[in-house]
C-alpha cells in the first residue's frame, strides 16, 4: 500500500510553477497549475538527469531546463523529441493547506 507523504505547503508553490521535493532518496516535482490544482511527477527528466523543478511550467506542460523536452505534467505524457519516455505521475491531495503525494 502506497503511503501519503507531505510534500510542501500550498503556499510554497506559485501558480503555474513547480518545486522540487526530495524524499527517501528520491526526487519529485510538485506542480501548481494555472487553475490552482496540484500535481506530482518524478523529479528528473526521462531523457537525461535534469531537475524538472528548474524548468518552465506553461499551462499543463513542464519543459525540461536542459534540452527543452516537454511533458504534460498532469498525465506524464512525453510530447516529442528529445523526450520519448513518459514521466511517472503520482496522486496528489491537499489537506489543511498541505500538499500530500502518494508514493
Amino acid at each position: 500500500m502506497a503511503d501519503w507523504v507531505e510534500a510542501c505547503a500550498v503556499g510554497d508553490v506559485e501558480e503555474e510553477d513547480v518545486i522540487r521535493f526530495d524524499h527517501d532518496g528520491r526526487t519529485f516535482a510538485i506542480y501548481r497549475s494555472p487553475d490552482d490544482e496540484f500535481f506530482a511527477t518524478d523529479g528528473f527528466c526521462t531523457h537525461e538527469k535534469a531537475h524538472l523543478a528548474d524548468g518552465l511550467v506553461m499551462d499543463d506542460i513542464i519543459e525540461c531546463p536542459k534540452h527543452n523536452g516537454r511533458f504534460n505534467y498532469k498525465t506524464g505524457q512525453a510530447k516529442g523529441a528529445p523526450v520519448c519516455v513518459n514521466l511517472k505521475t503520482y496522486p496528489v491531495k491537499v489537506e489543511a493547506g498541505r500538499v500530500m503525494i502518494q508514493i
Partner: protein
C-alpha cells in the same frame, strides 16, 4: 583519459592571454571510440555543469515564452527573402544581381541556422507548431536532416565540446586551417550535407548517428532525408526544364554562397577554448556584435548565456547577459577582436593540440572548479 596534474600557467606575451597546455593523448573525435569510452568512465559524459546562481523568480521571467518577437522577426525574414529572391530573378544576367545574391544568400544560407537552432530548442515561439514549421523550413535550407540534427544538438548541450561525445565540434584539434578557411565558402559542408542526406534517404545511418539518435527515431530520420532529397531532385528537374540556373541559385546553392556569415559568427562559439571541461565559461564565448549580425544570428552571440540556460529565448538573452555577466569572462568586444584572439591559439595548437585559451574571470565571479580544469603544460616548456 589520463589523470590531469595541477596546472602551471603562462601568459601570452603577444596578447596577455592566459593559456594552458597539457600532454594528453591524441584526440579521437569518433562518437563510438576510445574518447567516448574515456568520457563516460571519467564522468565527463552527461556531467553536472556549472551554472551561475540566478533567483528562481528572475529565471522564470527570463524563460517566459512569447510569440510576438519571433513572429515579427520571421515576417521580416520571409519578406526579405522573397524580395531578394525577386531581385535575383529580375536582375539575373546583369551585375545588378550581385547585391541581391548577397542578401538572399545570407538570409537563406546563414540566418536559417539561427532559426533552425532557436526553433529546435522550442524557445523562439511560445506556440509549438510555429517552432516546428520554421524548424523544418530552416533545416531544409541548411541541408540538415531535422531528426538527426535535433538529437545531435541535444547531445551538444549535454556534452558541450566533450571529445568523443559532442557531435557538433566545428574545429577539431589539431586544427585543420585549410578546412576552417574553406568552411566560409560552404564547400565542405555542402560536400558533407548532400551525400549525407542521400545516404540517409537510402536508409543508411552511420554508427556515429546511431549513437545519439534513439532507435525509435531512426525511421523518422530516413523519411525526413527522403523529403529533402525529393525536393532537391524536383529543383534540379525544374532547372533542366527551364534551362535556367535560377531554381538552383534560389534553392540549394545559397548553402554555398551564403554560408559565410553563419560560419563567421558560429565558429567563435567555442573555437580555441577548452575541451573536456564542465563549465561553459571555459569552453564557450560571448561576443558583442552589431545589430545586423545579431538579427541574422538571433542573439546567439550571447553563447555562454545560451549554453548555461538554454531555456531562455533569444530575445531575452541580452537581459540574461546583464544579470549574470559578473560571473562570466569579459565578452569579446567584437568579432574582429575575437578572431585576433583566436588566431595565435590555433597556430600554437598546430604544434601542441592541448593548448587552449583560458579566459580570465572577473573578481566578482565564482572561480572555476579544478577537478576537470587543471592541466599540465610541461609540453609547452619544451
Amino acid at each position: 583519459m589520463q589523470a590531469l596534474r595541477p596546472a602551471d600557467r603562462i601568459a601570452s606575451a603577444a596578447q596577455g592571454l592566459e593559456v594552458n597546455v597539457t600532454t594528453a593523448k591524441k584526440r579521437d573525435y569518433s562518437l563510438v571510440g576510445e574518447s567516448t569510452r574515456a568520457a563516460i568512465e571519467t564522468g565527463l559524459a552527461s556531467a553536472e555543469w556549472y551554472h551561475t546562481d540566478v533567483p528562481r523568480k528572475a529565471m522564470k521571467e527570463l524563460m517566459q515564452r512569447s510569440d510576438g518577437p519571433a513572429i515579427r522577426d520571421t515576417v521580416i525574414w520571409i519578406v526579405a527573402i522573397l524580395a531578394s529572391a525577386a531581385g535575383n530573378v529580375w536582375f539575373w544576367g546583369t551585375w545588378w544581381v550581385v547585391p541581391f545574391l548577397l542578401v538572399y544568400g545570407v538570409l537563406y544560407g546563414s540566418s536559417s541556422d539561427s532559426r533552425w537552432h532557436e526553433c529546435g530548442h522550442g524557445t523562439a515561439f511560445r506556440t509549438r507548431w510555429m517552432n516546428d514549421v520554421v524548424y523544418h523550413i530552416a533545416s531544409f535550407m541548411l541541408m540538415r536532416n531535422p531528426v538527426q540534427w535535433r538529437w545531435s544538438h541535444a547531445r551538444h548541450h549535454t556534452d558541450t565540446i566533450i571529445v568523443g561525445r559532442d557531435a557538433e565540434i566545428a574545429v577539431m584539434r589539431p586544427p585543420d586551417l585549410l578546412k576552417a578557411g574553406l568552411a566560409f565558402t560552404g564547400i565542405l559542408d555542402f560536400r558533407y550535407s548532400l551525400p549525407t542526406l542521400a545516404r540517409q534517404a537510402f536508409g543508411t545511418l552511420s554508427d556515429d548517428e546511431k549513437s545519439y539518435i534513439p532507435e525509435m527515431e531512426l525511421h523518422k530520420a530516413v523519411v525526413a532525408a527522403r523529403w529533402h532529397v525529393a525536393i532537391y531532385v524536383a529543383t534540379i528537374a525544374l532547372a533542366i526544364a527551364l534551362r535556367s540556373w535560377i531554381p538552383l541559385v534560389l534553392i540549394g546553392l545559397p548553402r554555398l554562397y551564403g554560408t559565410w556569415h553563419m560560419v563567421t559568427t558560429g565558429l567563435l562559439q567555442h573555437i580555441g577554448l577548452a575541451d573536456n571541461v564542465i563549465d561553459h565559461r571555459l569552453n564557450t564565448r560571448t561576443v558583442y556584435m552589431n545589430p545586423i549580425s545579431r538579427f541574422i544570428y538571433w542573439n546567439m552571440n550571447y553563447h555562454v548565456e545560451h549554453h548555461m540556460f538554454p531555456m531562455v529565448p533569444y530575445h531575452a538573452l541580452p537581459r540574461l547577459h546583464e544579470l549574470i555577466k559578473h560571473d562570466l569572462p569579459e565578452p569579446n568586444p567584437s568579432m574582429w577582436h575575437a578572431y585576433r584572439e583566436v588566431w595565435p591559439v590555433l597556430l600554437r595548437q598546430l604544434k601542441y593540440e592541448d593548448y587552449y585559451l583560458k579566459r580570465e574571470l572577473p573578481p566578482t565571479a565564482r572561480p572555476y572548479r579544478g577537478e576537470f580544469h587543471e592541466v599540465d603544460m610541461s609540453a609547452a616548456a619544451e
